[in-house]
């Protein structure tokens, strides 16, 4: 293994790049198509944060569980969620991953271990802990991961969940994506002390702040956490500092005198996790321009096929309304 390549096989590095790019291109396609008004559901774009979902999910096995939030496109795709079903869900169609009943905020693909995203800030955190409890009770070596934003760090249920996970030494990883904004509220309006890892440490849970724009850093921290979890050593907490390049919801950039300046946005866009990682891979000759073009072309084809699938899928029949209320 070549140490200069982070001690990670080239194939894995390329997989990280490709998955980040996939999330980016999928969302850019959604942004392009959104004005058609056929995707009639609010979208919370993940653009800018791709290194977090990918860095974490690349360190997991298919059977490990991931739970996420309203900003969940990235987690779904990074865990391997089906793209056709994703696009059909965006179009509110019956072939969507949630039969068009969930929408962008309620994605799921249980076959690859994406166990659902919740539209309530902090909503899926304890559910991930419960899944980890089940893994432990069933003597399985699997891990559950919960993705949530800095907004969820304001919710009491996070601390209830960390405490219980620590108490029972559960195989769960808490991943806080700190992008500085809980919808339109800045961290500075919400916290006396900017020390999220310290809050987890107070419960005896090892916690780390990582650069969430750096996929390798996220991956390395997750590997460590996964190892602990599989060894029965209990939960870990990762705070990934990251930034959303788009508006809280839907198309736009949220540049606003009260929220963020154009300069701030541009400053962070220079840290683009994909562009910077691409440069590293090219510099290290792991990728050449030709590979990049091939990858882009392949992804674009996949995305176009998924869009077609979504467009052509039928809308749910009227009698779907009352189905699935109960199993």
């Amino acid at each position: 293994m070549n140490k200069s390549n982070f001690g990670i096989p080239d194939g894995k590095l390329i997989e990280m790049y490709e998955t980040m790019l996939k999330i980016r291109l999928v969302e850019e396609k959604c942004i392009e198509l959104h004005p058609e008004q056929l995707m009639k559901s609010p979208h919370h774009y993940y653009i800018g944060q791709e290194a977090v979902a990918v860095g974490v999910c690349v360190a997991l096995e298919k059977e490990d569980h991931v739970f996420s939030s309203h900003r969940s496109h990235g987690h779904y795709i990074a865990k391997g969620g089906g793209l056709d079903k994703f696009m059909a869900e965006m179009y509110c169609k019956i072939d969507g991953c949630s039969k068009g009943k969930g929408g962008s905020m309620h994605l799921i693909d249980t076959k690859v271990g994406h166990m659902g995203s919740s539209g309530i800030v902090s909503g899926s955190i304890p559910i991930a802990v419960g899944s980890a409890l089940a893994f432990k009770m069933q003597n399985k070596k699997n891990v559950a991961v919960t993705f949530f934003g800095d907004g969820a760090a304001d919710e009491g249920i996070l601390y209830e969940s960390i405490n219980f996970a620590a108490l029972k030494k559960l195989p769960v990883i808490f991943v806080c994506e700190n992008n500085f904004f809980a919808s339109f509220s800045k961290v500075s309006a919400r916290w006396a002390l900017d020390n999220i890892p310290g809050r987890a440490e107070a419960f005896g849970v090892p916690a780390k702040r990582v650069n969430g724009m750096d996929v390798i850093e996220v991956y390395t921290a997750t590997q460590e956490a996964v190892k602990r979890a599989r060894n029965g050593q209990g939960p870990s907490f990762i705070e990934a500092i990251t930034y959303r390049f788009k508006a809280h919801c839907s198309v736009g950039d949220d540049v606003d005198p009260k929220l963020r300046t154009k300069e701030e946005l541009e400053h962070w866009m220079k840290k683009c996790p994909i562009k910077n990682f691409e440069k590293i891979l090219v510099d290290k000759k792991i990728l050449i321009t030709q590979n990049i073009n091939q990858i882009k072309h392949k992804l674009q084809k996949q995305i176009e096929r998924a869009v077609e699938f979504g467009r052509n899928s039928p809308l749910p029949d009227r009698d779907e309304l009352l189905k699935d209320v109960f199993k």
């Binding site: 949630s98 009943k101 802990v129 089940a134 893994f135 249920i157």
Partner: protein
């Protein structure tokens, strides 16, 4: 047949379910306390290990979510609340997640979670330890709500609730705990959504939930001495609601009284009244009467408790009003 109490029936249902299915586990504040939660000792830890019967931190909302997560990952958790009042701390996980999981995730998963919630009531326990608000949960699509009124039902309904693929709120009334009944020793299940005719009668239908079934039975005895023959229906579950058993009785008697342990305003009594009026109006020979809690907070003073909680006397009064009409 063997007679056991309501609380022993609940304990037996849990024990037999744990024997039947190793994915069943039970947790709650003080749940493994030697004396038990209101006389339901879950000393089952001795038999099944403390991984399957365990105490929890005072974190109702998170621990409800933990139950959901375990349920979607192959387990059948039973969460216990010493007072139903405390379930309000978990409304997000119960109503936004457990209730909606199956639907909002397109039927990809289900949440076989039972939440046992005990109605405390009485002896000055007041505003935060006496409530009974099953109607709130009945309101949310995706939840089943069970209210056993006797030991036989308590066992069979709890076993079915544990086997059910959906989240169930299981409401146990403290006043019923000592009540004994004939309860088979073997494991058995009563389907959710099937009511029971407690007493056959021809003059008036009384639909009663939970502890009000006892009050209705008392009222029926006194009324029978006065030549009034009432029929008592215990729907057993407020969702799914056995509308048919109620309607069939109303078709016969033409008179309906609904007695509940919840507030009247926007409660299940209002729902039943509306449904019978909408769908069976022509059978009604008198206005429907409802008995339940007035629009006030549960008081402490026994002087006020006496006025607040309805008894068999309120039922007798209502029956006489409709019979006279």
């Amino acid at each position: 047949m063997r007679r056991i109490s309501y609380n022993d029936a609940i304990r037996e249902a849990i024990k037999q379910s744990m024997e039947e299915d190793e994915s069943v586990f039970v947790y709650g504040e003080g749940v493994d306390f030697a004396k038990g939660v209101f006389g339901i000792p879950l000393d089952l830890a001795k038999e099944f290990g403390d991984e399957r019967v365990f105490d929890i931190p005072m974190s109702e909302n998170a621990l409800t979510g933990v139950g959901i997560g375990a349920a979607i990952n192959g387990m059948r958790p039973i969460m216990v609340h010493q007072r139903i009042d405390f379930t309000l701390l978990a409304l997000d996980q119960i109503c936004n997640h457990a209730a909606k999981a199956c639907y909002m995730w397109g039927g990809n998963l289900s949440v076989p979670l039972v939440i046992r919630a005990i109605v405390g009531r009485g002896w000055g326990q007041g505003a935060n330890h006496s409530q009974s608000f099953h109607s709130i949960f009945t309101h949310f699509p995706g939840l089943k709500v069970v209210l056993p009124s006797n030991a036989y039902d308590a066992k069979g309904l709890l076993i079915q609730s544990i086997r059910d693929e959906n989240p169930v709120i299981f409401v146990e009334h403290k006043f019923l705990f000592g009540q004994e009944d004939e309860v088979p020793e073997e494991i058995y299940a009563i389907p959710l959504g099937k009511g029971r005719k407690v007493r056959k009668g021809k003059d008036v239908t009384i639909v009663a939930f939970s502890q009000m079934v006892l009050e209705a039975k008392k009222a029926a005895e006194e009324l029978s001495n006065q030549g009034i023959d009432v029929e008592i229906i215990d729907p057993r579950t407020s969702y799914p609601l056995d509308e048919k058993i109620i309607a069939d009785s109303v078709k016969k008697t033409g008179k309906l009284i609904i007695a509940d342990i919840d507030w009247l305003f926007c409660g299940i009594t209002a729902e039943i009244s509306a449904r019978i009026t909408e769908n069976y109006f022509s059978y009604l020979k008198a206005p429907i009467k409802r008995i339940g809690l007035p629009h006030a907070t549960h008081p402490c003073s026994y002087a006020l408790e006496d006025v607040f909680y309805p008894t068999h006397e309120n039922i007798i009064k209502a029956v006489k009003e409709v019979v006279r009409d």
